[in-house]
């Protein structure tokens, strides 16, 4: 491009010609030039040649400087920057954000000089160390331990009868390696320090050719390290803390960590927040033969029987290779950095992204295998840029070097999300081709990514589960970046937020205390290969769990705290005692109840033998319906809730069988979550005993048979029934409790306060007819006539069915609003309530509201009819729209979601329960909006909603697979959501987007949440009445507190029920209700204690008939909310809550002048002094209102507690 900008300064080329030249290339640039010449031809000279490019920025800065208006069109250079930002990055904002992020995670240049001075001193000390004569290793160790330094000998430990010696010579070379010298260091999480790796080369004389055997090299290395430690400790010129640290808790990879003591001297680099790590390495010309270190070689040969000779030791070999390649890595990173200008930035982005997700050191849980895997990210990017060393024909194309940092970052994520490390190995392009046969890596390592030197598998020892998790995370981020709709804060989502929490990442989280584990079969060899018993145990746990879970999970990750430093006196690293096992379910297979093993007629008996050995007494030979006889494992569950626990059950079983870890050592939290959406034991037992069909299935069967019965009535009704649409949350798997019927006989066996029968709403739509009256009041009356006719007909056709017409709701006095409905109780005890939808109502209401009538062009003289009648019509219209237009659509959409996402319904139920138990559901937040809110965690950008679940597309990875994860995602969302910005949930799928956006009601809204869908662009159908700003803030605070509490999971102290206990301290007063008068008390979160006859005291009429939907507490709550709407805010748990919490409107508690329409109960303010002038002030009459509440709730309210 710069070429095109070139113009001769002496002007021998006319501007015209230049323009032509530039038109060949980028249009944008040519545009500028044309403009330039068009606007001001005299300034042609402003364009310099290539040599001027450096100076270009100066005039740019001038023109954009403060005070000058950006009148001039952008110059070429500026334009290039702008265009680059939007084409090479996601958007120009994104680019600026990236630019702002990068400096914050890099070391500050101003703080580096003390470090350099320190390193010089250190170099001086190290190069002047005296040598130590060869001696027996144990003897040498004994000498050192007297000085407080123990030698980190790894397994197999040197014995007294070993005949080799350890010695020390001053290092032959000291090099800085790792990311620091290439200036590609990235800050780690939680204030962990930058690491400056010093490769200290041990003279090759110290080693012999056979040192690769039996850990002899590592012992010599350990002694070398310990001697260095001892020397530095005694050195006068170095004031540092010395500790050991072992990568992955592998004693073979121990390094020496130097941290400065804060003494303000000239070489104190505390401020830099860095530490120097000393890593002993082998010189390039060492005597250890490289070919002995290929993955298939066996280098440990100590055992009674000679079998070991043949078993390869891949991890041991990799650990040894680590001593050979630091310099090679340094050089390849350097080449990469030179070759690709954006490499450093891309690596930074990638590592920040990874650190935020726990792939790196930090104080919280770290994904196993990734604690000190810095080289992985460099090798990964190198692989992308330089391409792959071909194994077969399939060769990955190298990326160009001109990519931007963001593009490179994306390419890395893309690779991670596509590449299946389980199946295929990846090889970095190497200069000399493969050094070891590629198949060897695949045969002996779980995951393979071989570096540029073609020797070391950087993923050695990383469990495949960790890479599966990495893959899921990469996929999730890519989905976010690709989403068509602009997410709220994409950048912070990808780079700035800590995503290490367990609950939103994993469908099942299990905490295991492995300190008491006794492996059923432990192999000495694997202990020696992995380096320590703990590592061997963890890798065997991983392997067995993978076998047990099979294709049920997409990822099985092990997390534990990252390795810590240890004092010099401690030779071996302490392994973590607590493991967290995170499972990401495969929605298709996770909840399978039967695992099939080999068939009975299997020829090879060892397969069946292995299956039995693996599952123990769980394995049984079963005969299936299709005649097969197969070894199988059956997981029996008692209820649908338990089904989601099958993966956890498998983990428990495997741990129990193979590691003898009993229930106390294995902890999971699912049953706690199950418990809160269940009826108490006493109630559910009655239902179990009665044998009636319960649950969502039962309710839907009852609904279907009712619809059939209604349709059969066509002869007896004046109009035939066209559509019956359910709109009840119980008919879409969204009610907190699974629905149960309540017949007269059942009611007798239940306590008084468990006899609540919710009725399920539905909408009846009749065929179109011109016979309907064309007047709203008459329509409402004719609905009554319809109901009466249906009721009579139904009762005569279905035996035992009861139907009653409900003429109003006791509150609405409007005569144009739809209020009447039909209550139906089926013989089995299911309650329904039906309403009639007549679409003419909408037109008639519109006429009333706009006042236009049937003649649109005529504006009737405005009669200022914004009075009550208009308001009444607006209210009626709103109810009409919500009830007849939006509710059925919403119901259908939610039902579809349930079929699509198995975890959706339990999530909704859990979130509803949570909001209810914190007293905001129903009164302030409608049930429907909760459903939409939960859906937002599942539907993504809604682009795949129309696809069939089994059409073979790739399931998005952000979709929660269990209710715990769904719940945590919603809580996390509520915690961070800025509700001012609104939320769009594509609930209805893409095809509905083109459809008619339904008319928005023009009512003023008090709710502040704005949750819009395709059919509700304004986002106020379900949030128009709340939550208001105060409640919305409250919900945010609640979510924050709940979220913080959920993090206790990482300490293992999480009591699920505590999340659902509401603190009542901040209410001004609390109204306690009498539990015996509440028909729903059984649903209370704490009710289990009250069931069992304690509140069985009979009321006046013990044989009263059942009252579906009769809930005096809710009626009282609604009344109080309505009566005192301007006086206080009232909160309660709709599910059998026995307390109301109330907060006064604080402004009313200040004296204010008396007004006739003040809208609150007041008391005159006493005069301070007799002489004072009467100002007519009044103040809230708190005592009077309390007394009123007590009166209004006579028989329900037990006491009022005023809290100060």
């Amino acid at each position: 491009m710069a070429l095109n900008l070139k113009r001769k300064r002496d002007g021998d080329v006319t501007p015209r010609k230049t323009r032509k030249l530039s038109e060949d290339d980028l249009d944008a640039v040519s545009d500028v030039e044309e403009d330039e010449s068009e606007v001001d031809a005299g300034e042609d000279d402003e364009w310099g040649g290539i040599e001027m490019a450096q100076n270009m920025t100066a005039p740019v800065a001038e023109s954009t400087g403060p005070g000058t208006k950006p009148k001039l069109p952008p110059s070429g250079e500026e334009l290039r920057v702008i265009k680059d930002a939007s084409s090479l990055f996601k958007s120009s904002t994104f680019k600026l954000q990236v630019d702002a992020l990068l400096p914050t995670v890099r070391p500050k240049a101003a703080r580096i000089p003390p470090l350099d001075r320190f390193l010089q001193t250190l170099h001086g000390v190290l190069t002047n160390l005296p040598s130590v004569a060869p001696q027996h290793p144990l003897e040498a160790a004994r000498k050192l331990i007297k000085k407080g330094v123990s030698v980190p000998f790894c397994l197999p430990q040197p014995l007294e009868d070993t005949n080799w010696k350890v010695a020390f010579e001053k290092p032959s070379d000291i090099t800085m390696v790792g990311s620091w010298p290439n200036k590609i260091s990235v800050k780690a999480k939680d204030g962990c320090k930058f690491g400056i790796d010093l490769a200290v080369e041990m003279p090759s004389d110290l080693f012999q050719e056979k040192d690769y055997l039996n850990g002899r090299f590592f012992h010599k290395r350990a002694f070398y390290l310990a001697t260095l430690a001892e020397a530095i400790q005694n050195s006068k010129s170095l004031n540092v803390e010395l500790t050991y640290q072992s990568a992955s808790n592998d004693p073979r990879l121990t390094k020496l960590v130097l941290e400065p003591r804060n003494d303000e001297t000239h070489d104190d680099f505390t401020k830099l927040n860095a530490r120097v790590c000393i890593v002993p390495v082998l010189p390039a010309n060492s005597r250890i033969p490289l070919q002995r270190l290929s993955p298939s070689h066996s280098n440990i040969r100590i055992s009674a029987d000679g079998d070991f000779a043949s078993i390869p030791t891949p991890l041991y070999n990799s650990a040894l290779l680590m001593a050979l390649i630091p310099r090679a890595h340094l050089l390849s990173a350097f080449t990469l950095n030179e070759h690709t200008p954006s490499f450093g930035d891309a690596l930074t982005l990638l590592r920040v992204w990874a650190n935020q997700r726990g792939y790196g050191e930090g104080s919280r849980l770290c994904v196993r295998g990734f604690d000190s895997l810095g080289s992985f990210w460099t090798v990964l990017l190198g692989l992308l840029v330089f391409g792959e060393e071909s194994v077969n024909k399939a060769k990955r194309k190298p990326l160009g070097r001109g990519l931007s940092s963001y593009q490179l970052f994306r390419a890395a994520l893309d690779f991670l999300s596509r590449h299946d490390f389980e199946k295929t190995a990846a090889f970095h392009k190497a200069n000399q081709g493969h050094r070891f046969p590629p198949e060897e890596y695949e045969a002996h390592h779980e995951a393979v990514l071989v570096d540029s030197s073609s020797t070391l598998n950087v993923l050695a020892g990383v469990p495949i589960g960790s890479l599966q998790l990495l893959r899921t995370d990469a996929r999730k981020t890519l989905e976010e970046l690709n989403a068509t709709s602009v997410a709220n804060d994409l950048f912070s989502n990808v780079f700035l937020q800590d995503k290490r929490d367990l609950l939103t990442r994993f469908d099942t989280v299990i905490r295991v205390d492995i300190s008491s584990a006794q492996p059923r079969s432990s192999s000495l060899h694997s202990t020696l290969d992995t380096g320590s018993p703990a590592n061997a145990l963890i890798s065997s746990i991983t392997a067995l769990l993978r076998e047990g879970l099979g294709n049920r999970v997409n990822a099985l990750a092990i997390l534990h705290s990252s390795p810590s430093t240890r004092p010099l006196s401690q030779a071996l690293p302490t392994s973590p005692n607590v493991l967290y096992i995170g499972l990401i379910h495969d929605p298709q297979n996770a909840l399978r109840l039967v695992d099939h093993g080999p068939a009975a007629e299997e020829s090879d008996p060892s397969i069946a033998e292995h299956f039995r050995e693996f599952w123990g007494d769980k394995a049984e030979l079963r005969r299936f319906k299709d005649g097969r006889i197969i070894e199988s494992v059956v997981w029996d569950i008692k209820s649908a809730d338990e089904r989601s626990r099958v993966p956890a059950m498998i983990v428990r079983h495997v741990l129990q069988r193979h590691f003898n870890l009993d229930a106390t050592a294995v902890q999971s939290w699912q049953s706690g979550f199950d418990q809160v959406t269940k009826l108490p034991e006493a109630v559910s037992r009655v239902y179990m005993g009665s044998g009636v069909a319960v649950g969502f299935k039962g309710a839907m069967v009852a609904f279907d048979s009712l619809v059939k019965a209604l349709k059969a009535l066509n002869e007896q009704l004046p109009l035939s029934l066209a559509v019956v649409s359910p709109i009840s949350e119980q008919l879409r798997y969204a009610s907190v409790f699974s629905p149960v019927p309540l017949s007269e006989s059942l009611a007798q066996s239940l306590p008084q306060n468990a006899r609540y029968l919710p009725s399920m709403e539905m909408i009846l739509q009749f065929e179109k007819s011109a016979k309907w009256p064309d007047e709203l009041r008459a329509i409402q009356k004719i609905k009554l006539a319809f109901f009466e006719r249906i009721a009579m007909a139904l009762m005569s056709s279905v035996k035992g069915l009861k139907a009653r017409v409900v003429v109003g709701d006791g509150v609405t006095t409007s005569k144009i609003q739809d209020v009447s409905r039909l209550d139906i109780v089926t013989p089995e005890g299911w309650a329904f309530s039906a309403r009639i939808w007549h679409d003419r109502e909408a037109t008639l209401l519109d006429r009333l509201i706009t006042g236009k009538g049937a003649l649109p062009h005529i504006n009737f003289p405005s009669q200022k009819k914004k009075g009550k009648a208009n308001q009444e019509a607006v209210d009626a219209k709103e109810v009409y729209l919500r009830r007849f237009i939006h509710a059925p659509r919403h119901h259908r959409a939610i039902t579809a979601l349930n079929h699509r996402f198995s975890a959706y319904s339990p999530t909704v139920r859990l979130v509803k329960r949570w909001l209810a138990s914190h007293w905001v559901l129903h009164g302030h937040i409608s049930e429907e909006v909760v459903e939409i809110l939960c859906a937002s965690a599942f539907v993504g950008d809604g682009s795949d909603l129309h696809l069939e679940p089994d059409s073979g597309f790739i399931e998005r990875s952000g979709v929660p697979g269990s209710k715990e994860r769904g719940f945590a995602s919603v809580v996390q969302f509520l915690k961070d959501w800025k509700w001012e910005e609104g939320l769009f949930v594509p609930l209805y799928g893409p095809e509905s987007a083109a459809g008619d956006p339904l008319p928005a009601s023009n009512n003023s809204r008090s709710g502040v949440w704005k949750i819009s869908t395709e059919v509700d662009r304004e986002g106020n159908v379900w949030t128009v009445h709340g939550p208001d700003a105060m409640v919305a803030n409250r919900v945010r605070a609640l979510a924050k507190a709940t979220w913080d509490y959920l993090q206790n999971m990482e300490e293992g102290e999480l009591d699920v029920k505590a999340i659902f206990i509401h603190p009542t301290d901040d209410y001004d007063f609390v109204v306690r209700l009498d539990p015996s008068a509440l028909p729903r008390y059984a649903q209370n979160i704490d009710s289990s204690l009250a069931i069992g006859g304690r509140y069985m005291n009979p009321r006046e009429d013990p044989d009263e008939s059942l009252r579906p939907e009769f809930d005096p507490a809710r009626s009282l709550y609604d009344d109080l909310q309505r009566i005192y709407t301007n006086t206080f805010k009232i909160f309660c748990d709709p599910f059998g809550g026995d307390r109301f919490g109330v907060v006064w409107d604080p402004s009313l508690r200040q004296p204010r002048p008396f007004r006739v329409l003040g809208g609150f109960s007041s008391t005159p303010v006493k005069k301070q002094k007799e002489t004072e002038k009467d100002k007519g002030l009044v103040v809230l009459n708190e005592a009077g209102i309390l007394c009123e509440i007590e009166r209004l709730g006579a028989g329900l309210v037990r006491e009022l507690t005023v809290q100060v």
Binding site: D31, D35, E38, P70, P73, P74, E78, L79, A85, S92, T93, L96, V352, S492, F495, R777, A778, K781, I782, L784, E788, R804, V805, G808, T813, L855, P856, H857, I858, F860, Q863, K865, G867, A1077, F1110, L1116, R1122, I1123, T1127, P1153, F1154, L1157, G1158, F1160, S1161, P1164, V1165, K1166, D1174, G1176, N1181, A1183, G1184, I1185, L1186, E1188, E1190, R1191, L1192, L1196
Partner: protein
């Protein structure tokens, strides 16, 4: 205890509740003689005659007329209780407009209406049309059976009490510090019992629902006939006359004529088009604009220049936004 006996011209009436439990709280009602506003129409003055109407503010939310009558029994006999008059005024005027072509004595009907609105019921709506036409008796609506139920109104509302004579009003307003005891009437239950009663009363027996619905429909049919008859044979409706006395020309009469007959009116399609705000005009404009766009070189250049300026402006805006975020340390990931 020296509470002011009056606040802003209102007499303060302290009320205590005897029935309720231990708490000895006092409720305050503010009372004043009702004075009709000057521009009030006749109907209002007739409803609330000056001189013997008491205006109460901050009536307890659960008060019934009976209780209010009993409360002021010592002062005199109460003729009528009207709750929340201000909130009800508007709909009644609304009704006036709707009915003006039907009834000649709207005010009279309204008067009766206002009386009934006092005790909120479900069924009194059509009754106001009783007096419309004497000759064919309009059908009577069978009311739904109701139990006496205590209505609950929003707190702090107002009520008007009409006494039989003026002297009672003076007695009622006599300043007193004495606590009055609220006469709770037991016929209308409160609390839990009220909810149970409400629940049952909302579900009346089926035959009475049928009787009610049938009679309501009969009345509707009857009224429809009345309107049709008045509409006349060929006139099809009556001319609409607005406030200023002008007759509106509206399509809706026979043969494309105005309502009430007389002049011809344009078709509905045309009207709808006009109502949408002159689509045609826009179309013409669009065509013109199309011809001119990018016709001259300078226009094209200007457009490009403006696009670039816009680009730069957005860029600067983005930059400023990021700077602002940077200032709030937004970009420190950890």
């Amino acid at each position: 205890m020296s509470l002011p006996s009056s606040v802003a011209g209102f007499t303060v009436l302290p009320i205590s509740y005897a029935g309720t439990s231990t708490s000895t709280s006092t409720h305050y009602i503010y009372a004043r003689a009702h004075t009709g506003s000057k521009k009030a129409n006749t109907s209002k003055t007739q409803t609330l005659p000056d001189g013997r109407t008491l205006f109460l503010v901050n009536v307890p939310p659960d008060a019934t007329d009976r209780e209010l009558v009993l409360l002021f029994k010592t002062s005199g006999t109460v003729e009528r209780v009207v709750f929340d008059l201000d909130a009800q005024e508007t709909p009644e005027q609304e009704d006036d407009d709707d009915d003006s072509d039907l009834s000649d004595d709207a005010a009279d009907a309204n008067n009766a209406n206002a009386e009934e609105e006092g005790d909120v019921d479900m069924q009194q709506q059509p009754r106001k049309r009783r007096k419309l036409d004497k000759k064919p008796k309009p059908p009577q609506v069978t009311p739904l059976p109701t139990k006496p139920l205590r209505p609950l109104r929003p707190t702090g509302r107002t009520a008007h009490l009409v006494f039989l004579d003026a002297s009672s009003l003076e007695r009622a307003l006599a300043p007193t510090q004495k606590l009055r005891t609220w006469p709770t009437s037991d016929s209308e239950p409160t609390g839990l019992a009220r909810y149970a009663a409400l629940y049952d009363s909302l579900r009346p027996p089926l035959d009475s629902v049928r009787a009610h619905a049938d009679s309501a429909m009969e009345l509707y049919e009857y009224e429809l006939q009345q309107t049709r008859r008045e509409a006349g044979k060929y006139k099809k409706g009556e001319a609409i006359v607005d406030e200023d006395g002008f007759t509106l020309v509206t399509r809706g009469g026979v043969y494309g004529q105005t309502v009430g007959g007389g002049v011809g009116v344009a078709s509905k399609v045309f009207q709808a088009e006009m109502a949408e705000g002159g689509k045609n005009k826009k179309g013409r404009k669009g065509r013109e604009g199309k011809e001119k766009e990018g016709f001259y070189a300078f226009q094209k250049a200007e457009k490009q220049r403006n696009d670039l300026l816009e680009l730069k402006k957005n860029w600067e805006a983005d930059k400023a936004k990021i700077e602002k975020l940077k200032a709030s340390r937004k970009f420190k990931p950890y």
